[in-house]
């Protein structure tokens, strides 16, 4: 066995390399599925917005298929949806234009994988986001989590004239601290 290499912080100056124009837009005109905006803030232990974090998401397409060869349904995955997005948190926080993923068996409800990087984090944090309009207790992972703390993983659906927005804040520390996973 080889020893894995240690992580170091992404630092404050990553945006010019990692945050590309359109990197937070996962859809094109032909992508299948319900268009949603997933947005929120990353908050520190004082409840202050962190304006130099990087948020990455990974998700299935509208039918719950991943565009990756480990998915048995890879060949049927939506060719107009890669499923990966990145957003910086300058100003308003993070924001993704994507679709509501389909549920991936054996879970009957959808969710999205999330990773957070920031100055002041020597290593990233892994979490998940679920959706407020589903019975998430049917999900095998969600069901096993602390019933109070797991609410930190649920994005709230808002139907606005401009479209469907799911609001979800990531709290790094303190009251309402988001559940982070040891993957």
């Amino acid at each position: 066995m080889r020893a894995q290499y240690p992580s170091q912080t992404v630092g404050p100056f990553f945006a010019f390399a990692l945050v590309r124009e359109g990197g937070n837009i996962l859809v094109d005109e032909q992508t299948l599925g319900e268009r949603i905006t997933l947005k929120g803030r990353v908050l520190d232990g004082d409840g202050e917005p962190v304006d130099d974090a990087l948020v990455e998401i990974w998700q299935a397409d509208a039918h719950g298929r991943f565009r990756h060869p480990a998915d048995p349904q890879y060949a049927q995955a939506d060719p107009h949806f890669k499923g990966f997005g990145r957003s910086g948190t300058t100003g308003e926080g993070f924001c993704f234009q994507t679709i509501k993923p389909g549920p991936v068996p054996p879970s009957p409800v959808p969710c999205i994988a999330v990773r957070v990087f920031a100055r002041g984090m020597l290593i990233h944090a892994v979490t998940r986001v679920y959706f407020s309009d589903h019975d998430n207790t049917q999900d095998p992972v969600f069901a096993g989590l602390d019933p109070v703390r797991r609410q930190t993983l649920v994005a709230q659906r808002c139907e606005l004239p401009s479209g469907v927005v799911y609001r979800w804040d990531i709290r790094l520390q303190g009251e309402g601290e988001t559940i982070f996973f040891d993957l």
Partner: protein, 239 residues
């Protein structure tokens, strides 16, 4: 960092903790709750796949990819190595993105206020994919050390930031590559945040005469071991 019995991807005897008080910014950003063990589902065993079409011909050459009217100033370097998994197998198709300060220790980022000159011919960002055996190669200039405000007279050792996206969501690493013999490493709370000396020293690249090109550039070798779920292992039905 999490419950005993869960064998996660990350080895916490090697990985830095969230809270490392000498690095002041960790104090308000470190989660207080222990991490919750997560048995990877299909979601964590898949991830974005990159191909040659995602990479431009000059993306790996930071001395050319932002040149306007000449070459960037500084000491030209070649940084090369192999990305391996924990079984020592080369990992192909890894997207490696790097970013760095210029030779004077200044980033192009708008929030970098260090009083050192920008270089009109250098941005300091590059990307490449590992080949079928896991090898990669960048051409750049040696970054300068730069001051930061963590504590009085704080200077970051010269470093290149590395971001690696491997074969699935679990295979992900953001780290920094350092240079041999840098006296600032001893004083750097980011480098010292790694819990053991042996693990720390792995982030120091090795000067390599074989990579060095006569009359042209110094060579540094930096292999990287990437933890993650083996993509060949997959339980049908997920979870």
């Amino acid at each position: 960092m999490s419950e005993a019995g869960h064998k996660g991807v990350l080895d916490w005897s090697i990985q830095p903790p969230y809270l490392h008080a000498p690095y002041v910014a960790t104090v308000r950003r470190a989660p207080h709750h222990p991490l919750v063990p997560l048995a990877a589902s299909l979601m964590e065993r898949t991830g974005p796949v990159y191909g040659e079409g995602d990479i431009g011909p000059l993306d790996h050459d930071l001395t050319k990819n932002a040149a306007k009217n000449g070459e960037p100033l500084g000491e030209r370097i070649i940084v090369t190595g192999q990305v391996l998994d924990e079984n020592g197998r080369g990992v192909p198709g890894v997207l490696i993105e790097i970013w760095q300060a210029n030779a004077a220790g200044r980033y192009v980022h708008k929030n970098d206020q260090h009083d050192a000159p920008l270089d009109p011919n250098f941005v300091g960002a590059g990307r490449t994919l590992t080949d079928e055996k896991g090898f990669y190669r960048f051409i750049s200039i040696k970054p300068g050390a730069y001051p930061w405000k963590n504590h009085f007279n704080a200077w970051r050792p010269a470093h290149i930031h590395f971001s690696l996206i491997g074969r699935n969501f679990s295979e992900r690493l953001v780290t920094q590559m350092y240079f041999p013999g840098d006296p600032l490493l001893e004083y750097d709370p980011i480098y010292q945040g790694i819990p053991n000396t042996k693990a720390r020293s792995r982030l120091i690249s090795r000067f390599d005469l074989e990579t060095t090109q006569p009359e042209w550039a110094l060579g540094y070798r930096f292999d990287i071991v990437l933890a993650g779920y083996d993509q060949t292992y997959f339980e049908p039905g997920g979870h």
